[in-house]
């Protein structure tokens, strides 16, 4: 039995998955980025191996994705997270035609054709950057863990209208609204709405086509999912493994390589053949 690895080396988190030769996930691991990308990738790789109870030499091929993909020293091939998120989303939800991924650094909308190919993609221009970070600012200001923001927002009864999506002013805006006596949940809902609107406009850049799959950590935020469905007017697929979509996609690309008869050469530069 041969195995492959997919490593998603983002700037704030590293994720890794191990797939068997049928493409089923046998191990996964996630790690908050410490000092150095390369070491973090190594670490997450070994954690995933441990989770799958496999040894490094059993891994026939490794594909790296994410901003740090060229720093994954043991990666055999680098593929961008655009292709990987699309591939991962398709594996989980085969009817996917649009992928939305909200990350801390970037928000991406990906359009997928009927043959499962990426036909178009859009990433936030500078000022819409880090829409995910906008939530980080909220948790900072409200002194709440990120994971609780969504559920709290859902309790809103009179959402506040928030016009700025400038992350810099998010905190002061929140404090301002609270000082005016608005309830935290109402302010939070306002913020979520502002972000959802921003992300929706990104999806519109590539053209909305159902089914829509929502990937990335933020997809676990219930308020965000609800609002996006409302703003986009279509239900969203959300996988339990939403955070691992990139890594999963990378793993599947690795599997392609193995099926095409290629084996790990641990060379940095290989011609990308998708």
């Amino acid at each position: 039995m041969e195995y492959v690895a997919g490593i998603d080396s983002g700037s704030t988190q590293a994720k890794g998955v191990i797939l068997d030769e049928h493409g089923s996930l046998v191990g996964q691991a996630i790690l908050n980025m410490e000092r150095n990308m390369s070491t973090a990738a190594e670490e997450v790789f070994h954690l995933a191996l441990a989770d799958a109870q496999r040894r490094p030499e059993e891994i026939a091929f490794t594909v790296a994705t994410g901003y740090g993909r060229y720093r994954v020293t043991f990666g055999d091939l680098q593929v961008t997270e655009i292709s990987c998120h699309a591939r991962g989303a398709l594996a989980e939800f085969p009817a996917t035609h649009t992928v939305l991924d909200i990350g801390g650094q970037d928000t991406k909308a990906i359009r997928i054709g009927d043959a499962g190919e990426v036909t178009d993609f859009a990433m936030n221009d500078k000022c819409a950057a880090g829409t995910g970070r906008f939530l980080g600012a909220a948790s900072f200001a409200l002194e709440l863990p990120l994971s609780e923001l969504g559920s709290l927002a859902m309790q809103a009864t009179a959402p506040v209208k928030i016009t700025t999506t400038c992350t810099v002013f998010a905190e002061s805006e929140i404090i301002g609204h609270l000082a005016k006596g608005h309830r935290p949940e109402d302010v939070l809902m306002g913020m979520h709405h502002a972000i959802a609107t921003r992300c929706a406009s990104l999806v519109r850049r590539v053209g909305l086509a159902s089914e829509v799959t929502f990937t990335g950590g933020v997809s676990r935020n219930v308020a965000m999912v609800t609002l996006l469905q409302e703003v986009l007017g279509t239900p969203l697929n959300v996988s339990a493994r939403a955070q691992f979509m990139g890594a999963l996609g990378a793993g599947l690309y690795a599997l392609d390589q193995v099926r095409a008869g290629r084996r790990s050469a641990h060379s940095q530069e290989q011609e990308v053949v998708l």
């Binding site: 700037s11 704030t12 980025m33 000092r35 150095n36 990308m37 390369s38 973090a40 901003y67 740090g68 720093r71 650094q105 500078k126 950057a129 880090g130 970070r133 900072f140 209208k161 400038c166 992350t167 810099v168 002013f169 905190e171 002061s172 404090i175 609270l178 000082a179 005016k180 935290p184």
Partner: protein, 311 residues
């Protein structure tokens, strides 16, 4: 005897200072503003009285400043933090003509005259905001406390460049540098240099007239002070014995004292609290808060400009 209180209600901290007629600091107090600044301030005021060991009725005059200056019903008057900083600074350093105030949300450069009157001032562009907060966040990413930043950055050997003006992108740069294994002290020092550069740029816009003084949160940040003094090629005066954070409150108190003196020399009695509306007066009708009759789904009320005060 005259007891004057200055309260600075900032977005993160609320600070208070009590002075006597000799401008001696009798007591100071500090609290997080939290979500209910009015309540926080009331509590803070109690702290101040306790610290000073005086009772409510002994206090002659209360002046408020900071973004919450209108939220405090028991004030006599309110004044903006810029005017307060100017007064406080000239009190400590009669030769200062340009003040730099680095706050959490914005940087302010103020030109003053020999009597501490504001002559010109400039705030950073919207897109260069959030600088102080950016320092805090960076420190947080690096696993440091705000206090550590200064000493830490001083250890830098090969500082990196943080080029983004926008705090959000700057943050991304920090994260990226970090993830590529750059030493934290080099990143921090890079961030400080960048911030210092922008601050001096702002000072130029008001004329860059010597001497210079630094106010706000960064006064205790050795690295920042060094960076700024290097850029300015001149020393930066800083408020003495930890008054830095209290500068706004101190200035408000000084102004309150002036007002009391004026009232007494002119033989008026001190008005009852509630704001003498020097600048707090509001127009007959706030059209901006007026909601037009719109088709369904269209009506969205415009935010109230600011809490209207009822004198």
């Amino acid at each position: 005897m005259t007891l004057v209180v200055g309260i600075d209600i900032g977005s993160t901290y609320t600070k208070a200072v009590m002075l006597d007629e000799e401008k001696r600091v009798l007591a100071t107090a500090l609290r997080r503003s939290g979500f209910k600044p009015a309540a926080a301030t009331a509590a803070l005021y109690e702290d101040l009285l306790t610290n000073a060991g005086v009772a409510h009725q002994e206090v002659t005059y209360i002046a408020t400043t900071g973004y919450g200056r209108y939220m405090i019903p028991f004030r006599h008057t309110q004044i903006t933090e810029l005017t307060c900083h100017a007064l406080a600074t000239i009190h400590h350093f009669p030769t200062v003509r340009t003040i730099l105030d680095i706050g959490g949300q914005d940087i302010k450069a103020i030109r003053i005259d020999e009597r501490g009157r504001v002559r010109a001032f400039r705030l950073n562009d919207k897109c260069a905001a959030g600088t102080g907060a950016f320092m805090e966040k960076s420190a947080w990413y690096l696993g440091l406390t705000t206090e550590d930043i200064g000493p830490y950055a001083l250890r830098a050997t090969t500082p990196v460049e943080i080029s983004s003006v926008c705090a959000v992108f700057a943050e991304s740069e920090v994260i990226n540098h970090l993830s590529t294994g750059v030493a934290p002290e080099d990143i921090m020092s890079g961030a400080i240099t960048a911030l210092g550069g922008r601050a001096v740029q702002l000072m130029r816009r008001v004329g860059l007239e010597a001497d210079f003084a630094l106010a706000g949160g960064m006064t205790q940040n050795a690295a920042m002070v060094t960076a700024l003094e290097a850029k300015l090629g001149a020393p930066l005066h800083r408020p003495p014995n930890g008054l830095g954070q209290l500068n706004g409150a101190f200035g408000a108190a000084l102004l309150g004292l002036r007002r009391v003196e004026r009232l007494q020399t002119e033989g008026h009695e001190i008005p009852t609290p509630g704001g003498d509306g020097a600048t707090g007066e509001t127009v007959a009708r706030r059209w901006s808060t007026f909601v037009p009759r719109r088709k369904e789904g269209q009506a969205t009320p415009v935010e109230q400009v600011r809490p209207l005060i009822s004198a």
